[in-house]
Subunit: 241 residues, 2 copies
Amino acid sequence: MTADAQRFMRVAVDAMGGDFAPTAIVEGAMLAARERVGVTLVGVRADIERELQVFSDRGVLDVGVLDANDVVAMEEAPSTVLRRKRKASVRVAAEAVAGGQAAALFSAGHTGATVLAAHAAFGMLQGAERPALATPIPTVTGTAVLLDAGANVECRPTHLVRFAVMGTVFARVALGMEAPRVALLSIGEEETKGNDLIRDAHQLLKSAPLRFVGNLEARDLFTGQADVIVCDGFTGNIALR
Amino acid sequence: MTADAQRFMRVAVDAMGGDFAPTAIVEGAMLAARERVGVTLVGVRADIERELQVFSDRGVLDVGVLDANDVVAMEEAPSTVLRRKRKASVRVAAEAVAGGQAAALFSAGHTGATVLAAHAAFGMLQGAERPALATPIPTVTGTAVLLDAGANVECRPTHLVRFAVMGTVFARVALGMEAPRVALLSIGEEETKGNDLIRDAHQLLKSAPLRFVGNLEARDLFTGQADVIVCDGFTGNIALR
C-alpha cells in the first residue's frame, strides 16, 4: 500500500455534541487524525481552538475547523433546532457532507437531531422510506447489525422489509459480508409467533430477494445465527438495553 | 405457630407437563410435600406411581394422584388440546382447582395451554379483560413483577392499565408490599417517549388510582426503581430474553 492509499476519508465532526464536548470530541478527533482520518471539527471556533492547542502534533495532522456558533441544549426539541438554529454544529456538519467537503458525519450529540440534520441535508436514497438507526452488535462469531435501534417507534411491515435491505447493504459494505443472513426479531422461531407487525413482515420477507433465515428470539441476538436483525425502533431499543 | 398454621395450601400439579416429566415433576412435588405443601399430582397414574415408589417417605407425606390419561405433545395447539382432550393433565388439574380440591395450579408444560386451561376452568376476576403472565424478576433491592411477559402480543392502552392493577394486587399479596410502585416499560423516561400504545397508557396510568412512577427503560429493569413493571406481551418477552 502507498501512503496515499492509507489516507482515509474526511469526516465532519460535530464538536459541540455529546458528553464532555468539546474536550472529549476534540481529543477523539486527534486520535482519529493520527490514524490518517481527515477531520473537520464543526462548532464554536474559539472553544475548539482552545482544546486543540493542548496537542503538540496538531500542526502536522489534517484537522480543520468549521465555524458553527448556535449552541443547542440536550433538552431542545430536534425539530426546533433544525428550524431556528441554522448554525447549529450538527446542521453545519451535515451540510458540509452534502456540499462535498466531507464524506461522512459524526456526532455524539442528540440522536434525533443528528438523524433530522442528516435527513434535511442529504435526503434519503431512492426506495428508502424512513431512516433507521443501525447498531453493530458483537456476536460469538463476529458482528451483526440490528436495525431499527430507535428511530421509528411505529412501523409498518414494509418498513421492516426496507430496513432488511438497508441492513443487508450495510453488512456487505461495512462488515464485508458476501451474503448476510437476515432475521426478524420476535418472541418465537415459528412464523406464527409475534404480533401482527412481525407476522406480516415475516411473510413479506420470505418473498423478498434477501437471505431471510426466519425469526430470531431476543436471547439469541448474540449467537451469530443472523447478520442483519430487523425490528421496529421501540422493540430494538428495548432489546439493546 | 401451631403445626396446623404451618400447613400450606394444596396444589394441583400437572405431572405430565415440562421437560423430563413426570420424573422431574414428581421429584419437585416430593420436595414441596416435605415443606408441608399438600400436593395432588395429576396425570397418567401408572407413570406417576412408578416415580413415586422411589421415595421411601412417600407414605408419610400428603401426596395424592388424580388420573388424567390424555397425553399432550409440546407442539400441539393449546386450543386443540382444550377442545379435544378432556383428560389432558393440565385441564384436569385446573378443574381440580375450580372444584375446590386444590387452591392453586402448577404446570411446567406449555404456557399457552396452561393459561387457556386456567381461563376455561376458573374464568377471570370481574374487571380483568385479559389474563397476563406475571414474572417476578430480581432487582438490586429485592423483587419486582413484570407483566405481561408474553400472553398478549397485541394490547390496547386499557389492557396495560388492568395489568398495572393486577400487578399491584400481586405485589401486595404475594410480595408483601404495601404500596407497590408501578412503572411503564418504555424507551425513555419522558412521557412523550415510546410508541402510541405507551404514550396513551402513560396518560391513563397518571390518572389511575395507582402509585404510578412513570416510564422505566429496559436497562433499569433490575435497579429496583419500580415494583410492578407493565408492558405488552411482545415487549415483555423481548425484554426478559
